[in-house]
């Protein structure tokens, strides 16, 4: 009988994992002090851009956040007041792959229900409190998903311009990036 051997290996394996996993770079505490200290690595912002839109209307900003170290969460966003009145974190849900956007949609008495003869699903948009950036991973703000909604533009956004977008994270860190205005 050689039964104990696999257990021994297993114990060794778990121990080894415990040693190796922190080497991934997430050696910072999960809850960093919210003091905005720069000792913590702020998630990198990749390819920020804003959609062309006219004054008085709304626009959206898109980007990818990559956390090389510990995870973080994007908790607020802003643009200068000479660009727009407000910026918010939003998520678009629904669409082709189901009825996600239908959740909690009361007050739709006029609907004849989801009788299978309906469209592939309505799309809607909700404000979100935060967007998680997983440790060692990334999250994309992209059309049809998470995005920065920019409300009540103070001026036209035209191709070739840039818009400063300030991102603030749960860790307290914040960063300002120049987002390129694109036709999308």
């Amino acid at each position: 009988m050689n039964r104990p051997a696999p257990h021994a290996f297993l114990v060794g394996a778990v121990a080894l994992l415990a040693v190796l996993l922190p080497a991934c770079g997430s050696d910072e505490p999960a809850e960093a002090p919210p003091d905005g200290s720069t000792s913590r690595t702020t998630p990198a912002v990749v390819d920020p851009w804003v959609r062309v839109a006219a004054a008085g209307g709304n626009s959206a900003a898109y980007l990818t956040l990559t956390a090389s170290g510990g995870g973080d969460a994007l908790v607020s966003v802003s643009v200068p007041t000479d660009v727009a009145a407000e910026a918010q974190l939003h998520e678009t849900t629904g669409g082709m792959d189901g009825m996600d956007g239908m959740d909690g949609m009361d007050g739709m008495d006029g609907m004849d229900g989801m009788d299978g003869d309906h469209s592939s699903g309505m799309m809607s948009m909700q404000q979100v409190q935060e967007i998680q950036v997983p440790a060692g991973g990334s999250v994309s703000l992209e059309p049809g998903g998470f995005h920065v909604m920019i409300l009540d533009l103070a001026r036209d956004l035209s191709e070739g311009q840039t818009v400063p977008v300030t991102l603030t994270f749960a860790s307290g860190a914040s960063t300002t990036v120049d987002a390129e205005v694109r036709a999308g």
Partner: protein, 221 residues
Amino acid sequence: MAVVALVLVAASAACASSDPSASPPVDGTGGAEGFAGYQRTPVRSVSAVAVPSVDPVDDPGFVAAPGGLRLVYFGFTSCPDVCPTTLSDLRRSLAELTPGERARVAVDVVTVDPARDTSAVLTGYVGAFLPDATSHRTDDDAVLRAAVTAFGGDYSVRAGDDGEPEVSHTGDVYVVDDAGRVVLAWPFGTPAPSIAADLRRLLAGERPDAEPTTSRPGGRV
């Protein structure tokens, strides 16, 4: 040693979970006979519905000109994400057509948020994407509801927690032929080149066979 090697692989895999392409692209599958768009069963007719166009001199309803196609989209202008993405995709796809093909395709945009989308706001917004598109709006919700339902779509406008209207709507673009039939629809996220390829085939007279049973095109992706 084999187990140790395995553990090392597992540990390094845990480090490499940052695939930037992790979110799957929406490929618009739903596929009717190789088309990127989908077709409903039975094929819908929209020749009996209309929403007034903002410019009254050109109000052809939703039936395409002989040999042509109309692309119909229901949206709203305060929509910062879905609507502009779709209209940009349409603009790009139409730019891929030859002038002869392009001349046979009309675009119609109908607002589902007429309270905020005045005629001026609507035409300015739509025109920024597609200068030759026809904008439609009505304050009569029964008219709008009948039109959207005829296409197989849906929408709702209700007051949100902050008092601002929250609008939900079907994100599909519908293709109507010269008999008033909805011959194809593209879900949100269908890439512009796929839309252009579908348009070329439709303009050449090809039609997707109706899907046999499913009423949920494409299923979950």
